[in-house]
Symmetry: C2
Subunit: 307 residues, 2 copies
């Protein structure tokens, strides 16, 4: 199975893949699995009751990765997929998801990825999900990821959720439930431009003693784009939670940020902070005195901010 | 007109008054105005269409105060009152509101104070509102203040909203709309204990260029009490807004904090921060080594925190 130039370009953008990886992999294109491999420790198998796959990672699997990117290259595709990922006890793995849409036509193309992830006792997961849209057509590029992460005792997860650019509309819904001693870090980075709209809902439940979660969200709204952030952290046990939202608005961009922290246990420690503003004038001027144009200077600053 | 011992005690708690003040005043008791005076610059007159008063402060009035406390000393009173306060152009005055309920019986006693305040061009207002409940009866003590502040060009307001203790249920709704150059500081301090519930909604609209608002909220939830904070700041112009919520939970207290900041203008600068946690152990131990009991040490820390 060979991919064409557009498909390779999408794969590079969303999964940093320059070729089809050798290990466990599932590549889905326009609503169908086109490439699927399991490895010795990571089983990738299609679901029998609905579209999507089960990824079963054997207990104790270390330093392996599984890639499950989704490509959409046609106009008018609406693809809904259900994936279940089970990280076995004591495993330490990387999951690379993500979706790239190249919409060449005038009809909407949409991907709704519904993920359920179970991180078993003592397991460690790194999760990367990049979203990207492009295409010469006027058709909308829509991505609505739903992710539920169940974290068992003493498990760890680091999730990096990135919307690079070109996504016209997104409603992101991320939920995590943490048992005793579980630890979660979510980093979200979002760029919207033109008339794009992005909504990010996050609900993190600190249910177990000693659990802790940190959410860092950085976003940029350019042109006429709009963003809404609603991260929620609920502490039901002696636990720690921190939410941080930093946003830059440019042009006529609009951003609304509503982190909610709820302490239902006297030993819960919850904090959040948020800031919305424009690029600092001094920073811009400093770069411009070095010879950059205003646009180049902005670009450097935004890249740094979203790094 | 003389007040009895209970009434004097309530007045002292909610308005720091040891006697009936000499200037402009309106004291409302159990649903009726019992004492009313105007001064040369401050007119206090009953509304003709509904319960409540109009307080009209002449333009340019300086260093004067008006006291409009409300007392409820009976069980089973539900008192709804509409007050309009107009601070004339260039005036600089203090408004002392507040409500004290002494509920001796088993029926609910409730006061809903609905305030509309207009701070005219260039005027300055200091506003104090304290809420307090007591009484040997089992009847609930309920206080639901609604306050709308319209701030004209270059006006200033400093509002101190305090719930001392003894209020079983409160839903506080504070709204402010700021025109060009207007400046608002709101300080809220709330203590709940036993099974008390408190909800505080705040909506601040930064509509004018150069307007700015700061909200500082400090609260303590003891025993089984519950608190919900929902401050919202919306910036529609080049303006600044900052929201800060600090909370201490003790025993089985629960606190939820959801500040929302919405930037609808590229030159808006909005920030918020919140923290919920228990009293720092070191602070407690330090005071206890000085000879205080645990209870006394807690009391000292809470007083400092709510100062």
């Amino acid at each position: 199975m060979k991919l064409n130039a557009i498909e390779n370009e999408l794969l590079k953008n969303i999964a940093d893949l320059h070729k089809i990886p050798s290990g466990a992999v599932n590549i889905r294109k326009n609503g169908e699995g086109i490439i699927r491999h399991s490895s010795a420790n990571i089983e990738v198998r299609p679901k029998t009751d609905k579209p999507g796959i089960d990824v079963i990672i054997a207990p104790g699997t270390k330093n392996e990765a599984v890639h499950i990117p989704v490509l959409i290259t046609m106009s008018g595709v609406v693809d809904v997929v259900y994936n279940t990922i089970i990280i076995g006890e004591g495993a330490d793995v990387t999951v690379v998801a993500g979706c790239g849409i190249h919409n060449p036509g005038s009809k909407k193309s949409q991907h709704d990825g519904i993920h359920e992830i179970i991180v078993k006792k003592g397991a460690k997961m790194r999760y990367l999900e990049k979203h990207y849209g492009e295409g010469e057509g006027s058709g909308e590029r829509v991505l609505n990821p739903q992710t539920l992460v169940m974290m068992e005792q003493d498990s760890m997860a680091e999730m990096e959720l990135v919307q690079i650019k070109g996504v016209d509309s997104t409603v992101r819904d991320t939920k995590a439930k943490l048992a005793e001693g579980a630890s979660l870090i979510i980093t979200e980075r979002l760029l919207t431009h033109q008339n794009q709209e992005a909504v990010s809902d996050m609900t993190i439940e600190l249910n177990g003693r000693g659990s802790n979660a940190k959410v860092v969200s950085r976003s940029v709204a350019k042109d006429n784009s709009k963003q809404v952030f609603r991260p929620i952290v609920i502490a039901r046990a002696s636990s720690k939670g921190h939410v941080e939202c930093d946003s830059i608005i440019m042009d006529q961009g609009k951003i609304s940020s509503t982190p909610a922290i709820t302490a239902e246990h006297p030993d819960a420690q919850l904090t959040h902070e948020a800031a919305i503003g424009r690029i600092a004038e001094e920073q811009l001027l400093k770069l411009m005195t070095l010879g950059l144009s205003e646009e180049e200077a902005e670009d450097v600053i935004l890249r740094g901010f979203l790094q």
